[in-house]
Assembly symmetry: D2
Homo-oligomer: 314 residues x 4
């Protein structure tokens, strides 16, 4: 029986591109979902074996819906991540020229990333935000479409048989979105030597130094944080929890020790998974444990402590 993958649909989204990059083999059933919440629901219920959703974008920041689902509801784990370059294309039905475009549909995040181009090339066009870039493309392809054009991923144009009116309409050529592969709790991916661990921390109370204490738990073990994002807890203005990504795998001593430290000082911790880093082989992120915090250092110190505890000091 093939693997069933839920993803943020409809067909043709950047998320579908991410899913194609993430899944281990060519087989499998793709289940497009109408929202991030539906992706999570499908995985939680077992309707899908796993799911893919966007987590953050290099221009827009964290994807609120995904983060909200990760924080709340039945826990899912991140089993993998992938970064997909965001390349936007303006699609229309065949025969439509740029000058004809008066109504442009796309997703809100995409719109935000194409504002500059639109202001320059389509200053008079009205813009509409829909549930996804692919939904915009699909809508444009329908008879009697309310929009003249859609900003979407290349794959969406292909799927809905649209014509590229303009390519590279994003304001930044280096934009990227990070997607995560979600599974129900179970055995974690084995450490690869270049992993990432994600979690959510709810501070015990709002005393001034609480966040510093939390960060110290990582710093003292030489664990580097690659993302720190505050999210409202929903309990009123000024109440936040923190979504953290850290270098390393929870199976490693240094990460395990840091997480135990958080567990002790935080009101609550939600573990979101340890998984291979998507950028493990890029120059941006060389793996350099701080002085005294390599796994070998931890192992040596454990051996030393065992001797000390046994009274073997010589």
């Amino acid at each position: 029986m093939p693997n069933r993958y839920a993803y943020l649909g409809p067909e043709g989204t950047f998320t579908e591109a991410a899913l194609r990059a993430l899944r281990p083999d060519e087989s499998g059933e793709f289940i497009p979902c109408s929202g991030v919440d539906a992706v999570f629901a499908a995985v939680r219920s077992g309707a899908a074996d796993s799911g893919v959703a966007p987590l953050e974008n290099s221009v827009e920041g964290g994807v609120t819906a995904t983060i909200a689902e990760l924080i709340n509801g039945a826990p899912l784990l991140i089993a993998a991540e992938v970064a997909v370059p965001v390349e936007f294309t303006l699609f229309a039905r065949e025969g439509v020229r740029l000058a004809d475009v008066k109504r442009v549909a796309t997703h809100a995040h995409a719109l935000a990333q194409c504002r500059g181009w639109l202001a320059e090339h389509l200053p008079d066009a009205e813009t509409f935000t829909v549930s996804s870039t692919a939904a915009a493309a699909r809508a444009v392809a329908e008879p009697g479409a309310p929009y003249d054009a859609a900003i979407a991923a290349r794959v969406a144009g292909e799927r809905y048989h649209l014509t590229a009116v303009a390519e590279g309409v994003g304001d930044r050529s280096d934009a990227a979105t990070r997607f995560v592969h979600l599974v129900r709790p179970g055995p974690l991916p084995a450490p690869t030597g270049a992993d990432r661990t994600s979690l959510v921390a709810f501070l015990s109370d709002d005393h001034p130094g609480a966040l510093v204490e939390l960060l110290d738990q990582f710093a003292v073990r030489g664990v580097n944080l690659t993302r720190l994002e505050s999210r409202p807890t929903g309990d009123g203005l000024g109440r936040y929890c923190f979504c953290l990504d850290a270098d390393g795998h929870v199976a490693e001593a240094r990460v395990g020790e840091a997480l135990m430290g958080l567990r002790r000082i935080c009101k609550d911790i939600r573990f979101l998974g340890s998984y291979p880093r998507a950028d493990a082989d890029t120059e941006l992120t060389p793996f350099m444990p701080a002085r005294g915090t390599s796994n070998a250092d931890f192992h040596e110190a454990e051996q030393w402590l065992a001797h000390i505890r046994a009274g073997q000091v010589a």
Copy 2:
């Protein structure tokens, strides 16, 4: 000549309600703008004397467009803030009953905050996101409207002569949005004893302890942080800057010293203003300087240092 206030329109938005709460007098010209970017542009260009925009919501988090404008472009300062309770109403044209509602329009943030109610009471309705809750109300009021109902603020229903089909449709009754009053750089509001200072910090480099160092600059002076939000710098995944709110006014010694510390260790700092706290009189946020960090403590230490430097030790 009356004050001209730009705000996130159209008429009937929560932002208009915030503006009414913020402005000092009843006079003044209100200039609704089609987006947060337009509000900033109006203030920057002088087309408006000041502007109002949402900064964060207790459920959805930071408002990306506002934060992006605060970080980038010509600097504006926050001169005041106000928190507005978010109470959502489902509006329709007269005669429409709940059972008739098939297509609901609202802003994306509002939609996110009403999902639970919609799932329960309008499970089959289609939802559409438009540029604001007020725009949704206005669209519903138009002849031949593409939507049956709008989720919006009470003031929007009044302005567009709609009928409340259901009140309190938000999933959380305690949700609130924080709005800021934006002005061009100039003299700061005088300290009131219960102020807030906002800024954006770009860390000098990505070494593991950089964020801890930044937070230490506050902790050592006993300055409490009330918000810490990372935002992508736009230069690729994994690159963030930090938006900070701190207790106190930059005119105070302890805040001034902390900001000088940030200035020295950060690649860049953008000061966003010192202004009275909206929650100064609530129980949630009593003003309690940490041991040794009251303004009196700073004054006494300055006097002491002056004596020391003069060799007057006795």
Copy 3:
């Protein structure tokens, strides 16, 4: 065969009083040694089963000779500690009156603690420092003694058949000396719930924050330091190592974790023992683990981590 106890002699020293307080039973052979180095040598060589030496005094500070021996040479462990009140008596041969005393002998530390009394009551007396207060008493008792009187412990006067010319001649009535019971490396005393751990840390390099990093290793695990004393390494001015006493037993998770942290970041660590606190039952030092750092907290966090690592998140 009775236990053989080396101690800083000769007979009648405060160290002998400490030994009487420390040893578990009435039997045992007492071996007075002429110096702290001789005490250590006797234990190291096996000539004695254990030894007793002064570690610090509440007025004079650390006892350099003892600390030097603990840091250098073959390692010994501290198996117990005791605090002995320092009550000084001025002793002379029978018939000598205070007015007759021109030459007073005692140990350098004792002299320092009686300066005020001597200045007031014997302003014209010459003072001499000898190897111990008991040696001073013994010298005074000898025929043709070069000194008229000795400042020593009460037990010394009894042993050498001297008369108390004046009692309570110390400048501070609350002075005390802390003595340690030294043994060759072997099984540690079992944790009692109120223990102390001693060690010496050699920092890896002299970068400004090295000592803060060291202290953070304790702070993050909520381990309280009760003593921090720098000692020169002997390698020139400005080169120090640090002698530390911490609350807790190395068998406890929080102390063990802190010591592993030190081991990883320090150039060298010498463990000096975990042993019951002498002041466990005094009001001065209630046992209060910081938030999240009780042994129960550590145990719970370990259980949690085990679940996390097994993918059991629910």
Copy 4:
């Protein structure tokens, strides 16, 4: 009228050598004192214009008597420091050979530093500690001397007309003692760019992190500590204050800010002076302010803050 210099006598001490190195000109009256307390008393009373005393030794550590006087009593300031290499010579009356030496006198610190040599070359000699190495030399020179030889500085041998029986009898050839020049409170020495600031800190209370907080006050301003020595307050075991040496002059912004921070969080601070470093031109201690903590950085940040406070953000 010549300057009157009090110093730890008698004539021929290492302290006299330090005084000769410290005083600015050849004139001046030298006043040998019988103890460190007498040196302080002479300066405090005005009997001397200034004084010289040993502060720490690279083998023995801090000189307790000097530190006690700096902490207690009427305040004096350190106006200068000098490091004097400790080279010990064994002196005797003419004609005495090494084999004849049965009784050796010297100061306790000197004895500690020559133990190895004595154990090897004079294993059977009895040792006596007197108030100074010079006093030992003087005593040996007297008719009917109770000692055969003295370990002292070369200058002492010359002054008391003794013969060097053996040179370099110290166990370490690189030992040095740091001496300080003491004056009554008054104008401080001008900053030289390579200065040191000394002070004593009494922590506000004994909570676990108090020392870390103190060190953070320095770390946050990039002020390097070159010495941290705990001393008992005298109020019982377990009560300490901390003697600190820091790089820089109190007239500098970064040092001034750090000291104000200490003033605010400590129960008490005693300022002991800012003065040129004796090791300013050695390789051991290059002057390298940490990132963002040069005086220029502080000046720039002050300018920036002034602009911010004036609302000049552009």
